[in-house]
């Protein structure tokens, strides 16, 4: 059942028919378009509520534009430093929102598609918000032969998410990494900047409970 209102005569009624796209107004026989049901908007986070304006009245950069500008200034507007700039932004901000990439493209004078090409090619960049803690499970050869895939399986089950996803309470983001260079200690995971080596599946619960 969809609530429809005719924009020709103003009559509104509950439509119960089967067609998906158009309904006929019972009052004036005018064809009324049925709007497909939109998915609910995601809840706004604090970050989204930050001012979107890029310039104040006295032409000073604020918000995202200012953050981007600060980093770009540090690299002296060097276009070849695009990867380093994005790495720095990702490091400061946690992820790369669309507005940020648009700003980078505007301020560095690089086409937006080039910026997106970089941001999607390299694994270090995330185009979606991340959880408060980033878990990286090492999938290197040495960690694998010592049971790294079992650690990943267990982690997926414990958190109830697949790799690359966030937990619903945005506490953790789960990712895999190809080698952390601690091969002698496999299996290894890192949470934020902490390393955990020589792991057993039974240890996971205790480690995860340290992070809130």
């Amino acid at each position: 059942m969809v609530k429809l209102s005719c924009h020709h005569c103003g009559h509104s009624w509950d439509y119960q028919g089967k067609t998906k796209y158009y309904a006929t107004c019972p009052n004036c026989r005018y064809k009324v378009r049925i709007q497909p049901e939109k998915p609910p908007k995601p809840e706004l986070t604090k970050r989204d509520l930050e001012p979107r304006k890029t310039l104040t009245k006295d032409k000073k950069l604020i918000g995202i534009a200012a953050i981007v500008n600060r980093v770009i200034e540090r690299y002296q507007h060097d276009k070849s430093m695009l990867i380093q700039i994005l790495l720095q932004l990702q490091n400061d901000f946690g992820w790369l929102p669309r507005e940020m990439l648009t700003e980078v493209s505007k301020q560095l004078e690089i086409p937006l598609n080039r910026v997106y090409q970089i941001a999607t090619f390299y694994k270090a960049f995330s185009l979606a918000p991340r959880g408060r803690h980033l878990i990286r499970v090492c999938m290197g050869t040495s960690c694998k032969v010592r049971g790294g895939d079992r650690i990943l399986d267990q982690m997926r089950k414990k958190l109830g998410i697949e790799k690359g996803e966030n937990t619903p309470d945005s506490r953790f983001t789960l990712e895999t990494v190809n080698c952390l260079g601690c091969c002698a200690l496999g299996p290894v995971i890192t949470i934020d900047d902490e390393y955990y080596g020589n792991l057993k599946t039974a240890d996971l619960e205790k480690i995860l409970s340290k992070y809130s």
Binding site: K79, S80, M81, L82, I83, Q84, L86, L87, R114, Q117, I118, F121, Y122, K123, A124, F125, M139, G140, T141, S142, C143, K144, V145, R146, G147, R150, D153, Q154, K157, V177, N178, C179, L180, G181, C182, C183, A184, L185, G186, V188, D193, Y195, Y196, G197, N198, K200, T201, A202
Partner: protein, 641 residues
């Protein structure tokens, strides 16, 4: 501290003399290893406790704390060295710190239980040179790792650092340097084994300006970490080699490309560059000569393919790291289309040694085709894991059994994997092979950057081959079709075989695709991608056949082909597995033999890991024995230690 610039060769010698004179050989120092592997085992907490405890006992001023790199025994970390007696302690926990201070520092007593224990004999030794696995090694590049503070240039200068640079700048012509490198027969340590001298000469003779030099530390090979270790623990040796190389080639600008996953390495090399600039060893008019050279650190952003030379150069240019066909070598047209000399971390670190001791000296070490030493990371199912440096030409057997101490838990050796995803598996029959570039190539593997992963009877060869294919599938840049699509089909086929859905003609398909990829891929990533699959197929064909025909995995590693089962004769009804099982698939109660309900079992393997009595067994290709009678009492045995 005011820094006096070093303006001539004599300045450097004087400066070194001052540093050495200032050093009190009897000064008590506590050195803590803070490289990545030790940090993973809690070195930072040890360091913190150490500082607190020293303050508490009031001897903070008398004792210096030093942060050093890794001495190669990674699994034994965190390592603490007490000077002046040079006592090496391993596996230190924060709780051990007060004892170290009260016994070793104050009363000069050695704490027996913290010393290195040889896994084979159980004997404890207090000094590194007495460790059995050290006796077969030849440490040239890693000699100072674990002894000097990587964040202090003075430490490096005191162990004859930058002597080679001074010799190269003031006593040698660029052509002479290249001649020495050519005489030494040094081959690129990144894995390809291209003669370094020839590469340098080509770059030098290329008629274009400016020229660039690059250090490749995009060590993407899973299972290899020697580049990280060198850059983290002794960054100045690489920097020195790079400056000499730039002088010989005629470059004024260099880059050090470090992987995103190595934050400590990037930090240490950045500090090293700043210090070298302060002392006038880098920048304008190096050491008072007319040579100018500058270095930048570029951090990667997580792409395996960026380790390929042409892809790395596009990454430095700020583009996506995609390789290009190399009809024109990068030595002629590389970064920004200019002549570029790119070498691996280990290659650059070898240069100062050649300059000091001469090309003939390096040539005398190793085999005829490959001179010098090779650094391997011994990892996987081996007793002594860590970094080892050995002369080229050592046999795999010596490497694994004499230095590595043999297979972990005394399981049966199955294969050794060298060269990362581009290398192959080497079976037991080739263990007496002399390790060098050409010999490894001959058996279908390659030297690669030096990862050496030991695989035992518990690992399935089909599954291991599939792991590398999946790895490369994720990392392929997708530019050329053979690599992009070939890997996808390979992954699907191998996946099917591992899940027991393999068909008779699958092996033929795999071979066909592998051949196409080998011939038609654009870069070395694609052409060598099939090495793991082909060597696994060549040497372990019977395992593949078992997977396809009998639906059986002899190593019991393929999840879909394995079942877990509790042996009623062994089970002690201790309830541990029952409590740990995430799906509650284990039935039973106290004093009653447990049983796995196969319908609920998700084959996670936790019960197998936690069982102290080895009662949980894996079965593959065999029927599961029927359930024991309800209420069956366990047959009591003692706990196995």
């Amino acid at each position: 501290m005011t820094v006096n610039k070093i303006n001539s060769a004599k300045d450097l010698v004087d400066f070194r003399r001052i540093i050495i004179e200032k050093k009190d050989p009897l000064e008590p120092i506590i050195a803590v290893n803070v490289s990545t592997c030790s940090v993973a085992l809690g070195a930072l907490k040890v360091l913190e406790t150490l500082k607190k405890e020293l303050e508490k006992s009031g001897i903070k001023e008398k004792i210096r704390i030093k942060e050093v790199g890794c001495a190669g025994l990674c699994e034994q970390g965190p390592m603490v060295i007490i000077y002046p007696d040079e006592v090496y302690y391993f596996r230190i926990k924060p709780e051990d710190v007060p004892e170290i201070i009260s016994k070793t520092i104050k009363r000069k007593q050695i704490i027996e239980r913290l010393l290195y224990q040889d896994p084979a004999t159980g004997k404890r030794v207090s000094h590194l040179d007495e460790i059995p696995s050290y006796k077969h090694q030849l440490k040239l590049l890693t000699k100072n790792n674990g002894k000097i503070d990587p964040k202090k240039i003075e430490d490096y200068i005191s162990v004859n650092g930058y002597t080679a640079l001074s010799k190269a700048l003031f006593e040698m012509q660029p052509e002479q340097i290249i001649e020495q490198i050519k005489t030494s027969n040094l081959r690129g340590r990144g894995g390809g084994g291209f003669p370094t001298g020839i590469k340098w000469e080509t770059t030098r003779n290329a008629k274009d300006d400016p020229k660039y030099v690059i250090v490749n530390c995009d060590e993407g090979d899973p299972g290899a970490f020697m580049d990280r270790s060198l850059l983290e623990d002794n960054p100045h040796s690489i920097l020195e080699g790079l400056i000499i190389g730039a002088y010989a080639i005629g470059a004024y600008e260099g880059y050090i490309y470090v992987r995103e996953e190595y934050p400590i390495a990037a930090e240490n090399v950045f500090i090293a560059i700043t210090q070298a600039k302060d002392y006038g060893l880098l920048g304008k008019k190096i050491m008072g000569s007319n040579f100018n050279f500058d270095v930048k650190v570029q951090r990667g952003a997580g792409a395996f393919v960026s380790g390929e030379s042409s892809a790395l150069m596009t990454a430095i240019e700020g583009k996506i790291g995609e390789p290009r066909p190399k009809y024109v070598h990068t030595a002629v047209k590389g970064l920004w289309g200019k002549p570029t000399c790119l070498n691996n971390v280990k290659t650059w670190a070898t240069i100062p040694l050649i300059i000091i001791k001469g090309g003939d000296w390096l040539k005398s070490i190793g085999t005829e085709g490959s001179s010098g030493t090779a650094i391997f990371s011994l990892v996987g199912k081996i007793k002594n894991t860590g970094l080892v440096e050995v002369p080229m030409g050592i046999t795999l057997r010596n490497l694994i059994y004499k230095i590595g101490g043999g297979v972990k838990d005394d399981k049966k050796f199955k294969a050794v994997q060298t060269g990362g995803p581009s290398g192959g598996f080497i079976p037991e029959k080739y263990l007496d092979l002399q390790v060098d570039f050409d010999e490894l190539d001959r058996v279908g593997s390659m030297m690669g950057s030096g990862g050496l992963v030991v695989i035992d009877e518990d690992n399935c060869m089909v599954d291991s081959a599939r792991y590398f294919v999946d790895f490369l599938l994720e990392e392929s840049c997708g530019k050329c079709i053979p690599c992009r699509e070939g890997l996808r089909v390979l992954s699907k086929t191998l996946g099917n075989i591992c899940e027991g859905k393999g068909e008779h003609d699958d092996i033929g398909t795999v071979e066909d695709i592998a051949l196409t990829m080998e011939n038609a891929s654009l870069c070395a990533l694609g052409t060598t991608a099939t090495n793991p699959v082909l060597t696994s197929l060549k040497y372990f064909r019977e395992e593949w056949d078992q997977h396809i025909k009998d639906k059986r995995c002899i190593a019991k590693a393929c999840k879909s082909l394995t079942d877990y089962y509790i042996d009623p004769k062994e089970c002690q009804a201790c309830l541990i597995c029952l409590r740990e099982c995430p799906t509650k698939a284990i039935e039973g109660e106290k004093d009653q033999v447990h049983w796995i309900n196969q319908e609920k079992c998700e084959k996670c393997g936790i019960c197998y890991e936690v069982c102290k009595f080895d009662a949980v067994k894996k079965l593959s290709g065999e029927p599961i024995p029927s359930k024991p009678a309800n209420g069956m009492k366990p047959i009591r045995k003692g706990v196995k230690q």
